[in-house]
C-alpha cells in the first residue's frame, strides 16, 4: 500500500485529504509543520507528498528544496489561488504538480494518480474477484471474459467499492467520493444505483452486500 504524506497546518484539510487518500488505498501520514515533514521523511520513505506552501516556520518551498537535496519523491504543492508565482517557483524547485486552494479533493486524488503514473510508480492494476475483473484504465468490467456495459456512475461506484474491499462505505461517503463533494442530491440515489449495479452484475450480484443501517460493502468469498 503506497504511503502518502500530507503537510498542512490546517487539521481539517489534513483530515479531508486523509479521508480521500485512504479511500484510494493510501496509507496516510500527517505533518503539521515543515520541520515535522522533514522529520517524517527521514523516518520512512513516502510514495507521494502533498505539501502546503504557506506554513508557519519553514515554508513549503524551503521544505521542497530540502527534500530535493536527497530525494526525487513526487511532490504536489498546495498554493493559494492565483499565485502564479508560487506555481512557477514550485515547478522550478522540482514540484511535480500543484493545486490551488481551495481545491476539490477528488481532483487532488486524480492528480496524485496522474503524477504517480507519470513517475512510473503506479501499476496499471486489474482488480479481480473470481471471474469478474475490473480494469480502471479502460473502464471495463468483464465476467468470465465477457464485457459488461456499465453506465459511468455504476462503474465508478463499483470501482470505489472494489478499492475498499470488505470496508463498509456509507451512502454519504459514497456520494462524497463518487458523486463529488458538492453534490446535493438525495442520499437514496445511491440505493438506486446499487440496485441497477446488482442487476448488471448478474451472478456476481452478491459481491455487494448491504450493511443494514450503515451502507454497502463489497466482499468476495470463494465459490464457483
Amino acid at each position: 500500500m503506497p504511503n502518502l504524506l500530507i503537510t498542512d497546518d490546517d487539521i481539517h484539510l489534513r483530515k479531508l485529504v486523509r479521508t480521500y487518500g485512504e479511500l484510494e488505498g493510501f496509507c496516510c501520514e500527517e505533518a503539521e509543520t515543515g520541520e515535522q515533514t522533514l522529520e517524517a521523511i527521514r523516518n520512512m520513505p513516502f510514495d507521494i507528498i502533498v505539501l502546503d506552501v504557506m506554513m508557519p516556520g519553514t515554508d513549503g518551498f524551503q521544505v521542497l528544496e530540502e527534500i530535493r537535496r536527497t530525494s526525487q519523491v513526487p511532490v504536489i504543492m498546495l498554493t493559494a489561488r492565483d499565485e502564479e508565482y508560487d506555481k512557477l517557483k514550485g515547478f522550478e524547485l522540482g514540484a511535480d504538480d500543484y493545486m490551488a486552494k481551495p481545491f476539490s479533493p477528488k481532483e487532488l486524488m486524480a492528480r496524485i494518480g496522474a503524477v504517480l503514473r507519470r513517475t512510473g510508480k503506479k501499476q496499471t492494476d486489474v482488480i479481480t474477484f473470481g471471474g469478474l475483473s475490473i480494469t480502471p484504465d479502460s473502464r471495463t468490467v468483464t465476467i468470465h471474459g465477457e464485457r459488461l456495459g456499465l453506465p459511468p456512475k455504476e462503474f465508478d461506484l463499483l470501482l470505489k467499492l472494489s478499492q475498499n474491499e470488505r470496508v463498509v462505505l456509507s451512502r454519504e461517503k459514497l456520494l462524497q467520493t463518487v458523486w463529488g463533494y458538492n453534490y446535493y442530491g438525495d442520499v437514496r440515489t445511491v440505493d438506486t444505483h446499487i440496485k441497477s449495479l446488482r442487476e448488471h452484475l448478474g451472478p456476481y450480484r452478491k459481491l455487494i452486500q448491504t450493511v443494514w443501517g450503515v451502507g454497502y460493502r463489497l466482499e468476495y468469498t470463494e465459490e464457483t
Copy 2:
C-alpha cells in the same frame, strides 16, 4: 552510437553538453546558429537534438518548426528561466521536453535519456490492428495495404488512441495531448474529428469506441 546535435551560440555551453554527452556515449555535433542546425540535419540524421531558443538569426522556434516539417526527431529545447511562454510554445511546436537555463548537465542527460526512451519505441514501430497499420514515421495509415489519406489532426488523433490501446482518453486529455497544452477551443471539436476519422476508417470504424460520459478508446478485437 547515437548522434546528438547541440545548438547554441555559447561555445562554453556547447562544450559542456559535448563533454557530458560523450560520457554518455553520444556522438556529438555542434551548431552555432539556426541555419547551421538545419544544414547539419540535412547532412546526417540525428537521434536527438538539443536546441536553444534564443539565438541570433533564425531562432529556436523557427528551427523547430522547420524540423517538424520533415522529421519527428526528438528535440529538447533550452529556454531562459521563467519563460513559461517559451515552454508552452515549444511544446506546441512539437518539442519533446524543455530545460530552463541555467541547468544541471546531469539533468539534461537524464532528460535526453527519458525522451529517447519515451520516443525510442515508437520511432521504428509500425502499429497494427489486423489489416490496418499505422506508420508514425511516415505518417501513413493503410488498410489491407491500401493507403488512407488522413488529415493531419485525424492522424494524430488515431495515433494517440493507438498508442494507448484499450485505455480511455477523455476529450480534455486528447485536446491537451493532440491539440496542444494551451489549446482553448471547444471540447466537442474532438467529437467532430472522431466522426470524420470513423468515416475514413470504414470497416475499421469500430476500432474507436465511445465510452459514455468519459471519452474514447481504441480497441482491437479479433475478426476477419
